[in-house]
């Protein structure tokens, strides 16, 4: 390829990168501006007199509907909901994947195919019965309800991840261990666990991103005090008390995005692998 076409190649790639980064830049720049500067300046200009006032307000004082204590309580809700849901669904998924690949029994393949449907359904088709069920067992208005829902509907994916990973582990290895007298859990702990680090990373990151970013379950199943941060962000943007404070909206949006962005920056490799692995079947 000659120099001219290589120049255009890089120019296009850089333009595309700028386009991808532009919204993040606009969000950041806006969040550090005062309202006056937003009204007078340009959307893409860097802040002239940077201020963190909007961040403070978004975190602890902005109104999200009736409450006016910022995103902070809902950010904590999201943590309380996401961490247990990720851990529980990942551990169960790991054991499921192990049982489905190395302890096959009659019907285990059918069982796996059956579970897969859970990856495909639009969740709208389970919302109504689930809302009534959570009401009946008293899980409404608490993060427990959301943890429960995210575990239940995350299992199909976590099982899929581990099943596809463990199917590559040679069966002879497990057979040999069984001959030596090792049982179901011993084999899992001693043989599978030490080689499972990559898939645990993929699964945890996938689940974390999915659950943290969820809006549908949050808006349908959470009470006003147990809402996750995505729902609170949407309420904050929609709650207008007089002047529209775009700088607060943008600071709030970045706060809500920060955990998944951090995970992406730190462990992007596993994030991509999860996306493509989920994509193979999902």
């Amino acid at each position: 390829m000659n120099a001219v076409s290589r120049f255009f190649l890089y120019a296009i790639l850089l333009l595309a990168a700028l386009y991808a980064l532009a919204p993040l830049w606009v969000m950041l720049a806006t969040s550090f501006k005062s309202l006056d500067e937003i009204r007078e300046g340009s959307l893409i200009a860097a802040p002239q007199a940077p201020t963190i006032a909007a961040w403070g307000k978004a975190w602890s004082r902005a109104c999200t509907g009736v409450r006016c204590d910022g995103l902070q309580p809902f950010f904590i809700n999201s943590l309380l909901m996401t961490i247990p849901a990720v851990l529980i669904s990942t551990i169960i998924g790991a054991l499921n994947g192990y049982a489905l690949t190395h302890w096959k029994f009659r019907g285990s393949e059918v069982l796996f195919t059956m579970l897969l449907l859970g990856c495909f359904i639009p969740f709208q088709v389970v919302l109504l019965p689930m809302a009534r069920t959570l009401g009946a067992i008293g899980f409404v208005d608490s993060v427990f309800g959301l943890i429960f829902v995210h575990v239940v509907y995350g299992l199909a994916f976590t099982t899929l991840f581990f099943r596809n990973y463990y199917i590559g582990v040679p069966g002879e290895l497990i057979k040999a261990a069984r001959v030596d007298g090792a049982g179901f859990f011993t084999i899992f702990w001693r043989i599978l666990m030490p080689i499972s680090m990559p898939i645990f990373m993929v699964c945890v990151i996938w689940q974390f991103t999915q659950i943290w970013n969820d809006f549908l379950f949050g808006v349908v199943f959470a009470g006003s005090d147990s809402q996750p941060v995505t729902v609170a962000l949407n309420n904050l943007v929609r709650t207008s008390t007089g002047v529209k404070e775009y700088n607060v909206d943008m600071a709030a949006a970045i706060i809500a995005a920060l955990p998944t962005l951090l995970v992406y920056i730190v462990a992007g490799k596993y994030f991509v692998r999860g996306l493509t692995a989920g994509a193979v079947k999902g």
Binding site: A16, P129, G183, N213
Partner: protein
Amino acid sequence: MRPLSADRWLPKLVLSPTLLASLIFVYGFILITIAMSFTESRMLPNWEWAGIDRYVDLFDNDRFWVSAKNLAIFGSLFIVISMAVGLFLAILLDQKIRGEGFLRAIYLYPMALSFIVTGTAWKWMLNPGLGLERIVQQWGFADFTFDWLVNPDKAIYTVVIAGVWQSAGFAMALFLAGLRGVDSEIIKAAQVDGATLPTIYRRIIIPSLRPVFFSVALILAHIAIKSFDLVMALTGGGPGTASDVPAIFMYQFSFSRGQLGVGAASAVMMLMTIMAVMVPLMYAEAKSGNAR
């Protein structure tokens, strides 16, 4: 060998909670929703048989047709543009680019964001008063107008803009993985035969990516049909109901308007749509995968 008795039932015991959860919360709940769509349910479930009345209500509802039409517009543009941009970027990145990993990371980061965050950001950038419209005016095009966000005929296209921004990098990542899997011997042989690079892509590489096309289309279609949060954050279905999609229709009729029966019927329609799109695509994907 130690007695195998425990190992005989342990795997089944381990799988049983998941099996139970799937039977109740996936299969059972789908059946309940289907059943509810044939009842007189309004504010509360009411199991009185109503035949196909709720579906008649649904199909008589203009708002439902607006949402279906919007899904068709959004879905087709979102899928086609994301795939085109994704494939284009993947092919460019496949030319031994310096800093490829870095560029890839930049293209893909929107996928880590919540659709609510994406919607909030684009709502700000596309707002007619202070956003993009004003920048272009400040650049000297005083007559420039860009009011799609508040224009009932154009609002759904803003969802396409934001959706493509979020998902094109994802399509790129999948296509790039596919490109890396193409047998380099065949490409070398074609080069020896004097084929130019565009010809090689058009005649050899892209046709061999068929299964990847199906996977990408499958996932994007899935995202499109379920799309709810992006529309909620960006337009809220508005102005009025101009950018409603089925997921918003279902949510409002079920949880704000107290029309459980109609909500259930619309959820069933969503399930059918996903099945109608997924089953042929999965079949085609399996077939083209086996043919390789």
